[in-house]
Symmetry: C2
Amino acid sequence: MILKSQVEWALHCCAILAALPEGRYLSTKALAEFHGLPKEYLSKALQSLSQAGLVHTTLGPSGGYRLARSPDDLTFLDIVEAVEGKSRTFVCNNIRANNPCRPAGFCDTSPCAVARIMWEADEAWRSKLRSVRLSSLVETLSREVRADIWGKTFEWVMDRAG
Amino acid sequence: MILKSQVEWALHCCAILAALPEGRYLSTKALAEFHGLPKEYLSKALQSLSQAGLVHTTLGPSGGYRLARSPDDLTFLDIVEAVEGKSRTFVCNNIRANNPCRPAGFCDTSPCAVARIMWEADEAWRSKLRSVRLSSLVETLSREVRADIWGKTFEWVMDRAG
DNA sequence: GAGAGACTACTCGGATACAGTCTGTCCGAGTAAATCCGG
DNA sequence: CCGGATTTACTCGGACAGACTGTATCCGAGTAGTCTCTC
């Protein structure tokens, strides 16, 4: 079980988009070039974000993406679920129902105990992702990334933002 | 991202093996029949448990599997990692290194901020799984499963335990 | 020179191939118990 | 009755398909800016 690389891409792209001033857009081409990724495939990750309503898009020259909400209203979970889907990581096939010692037609009242525990762990994972806002990531980056690189990056992005 | 069905199978099989008296073994065939699973494929999951040292095996007639440790010393995480592997669910390809604004040969001091957060969530998931012992699952089952089914199941298993 | 219309260039989004992993099956090698056979 | 050889039943491991998902690429639909042509 491993997350798609698109999750990583989407998170990094959102971090860049978070730095974009109100009303400006950044194209897939620019985001792909910045991260050294295949433009065509990256667009699929951005499409997922778009379908989930996390980003807004505009067509034509100087078109592209921008965040649909404030970075303070976007969590890691939003982005991860947009790409990976909202379904749980553990699916219960209820194999306990195959126990040959059960009376025919026996019906369970509560979900399988194994599944409940696995789902709790899944919820712990999601809960952690839900607790981290995109704005907090940007803040961390602005602290950790060397000032000159941070500045040049901002310029680079602004040069290409339509 | 979804866990293999083998994880579910391994957990249920361990629950059965936990009820097995000291020194008795239960075969793949019995476990497969009990859960209504393909014997050949289930054996792959049990092999994983064996390679991880979680179960002990004996060859020949009346051979099979038994737990290598007490159910109180076996956690969900042990079983899940035996089947799924111990590697993290999020892999960082360090795409930040492709930022064209970086000086050539620039070297990062700390891991990517995005990856750190994803790894924390991964650890939250593992931590939850680590906190649940197999003995606790068995206790829950003994409370929730109807007494007659629980008893018949025990007999069924003992009939086939070598 | 100005405005309306056509055109171009660029974008996103869906449709289409390729690859790797998960799922499932089959068979042979090795081993330990049970059985059989000769003394 | 006893001991050794044979048979049997089981695990283990590798080899091998089929299905599904992740990865990667391409092309069409649509839009915003630009250019041209007319007045």
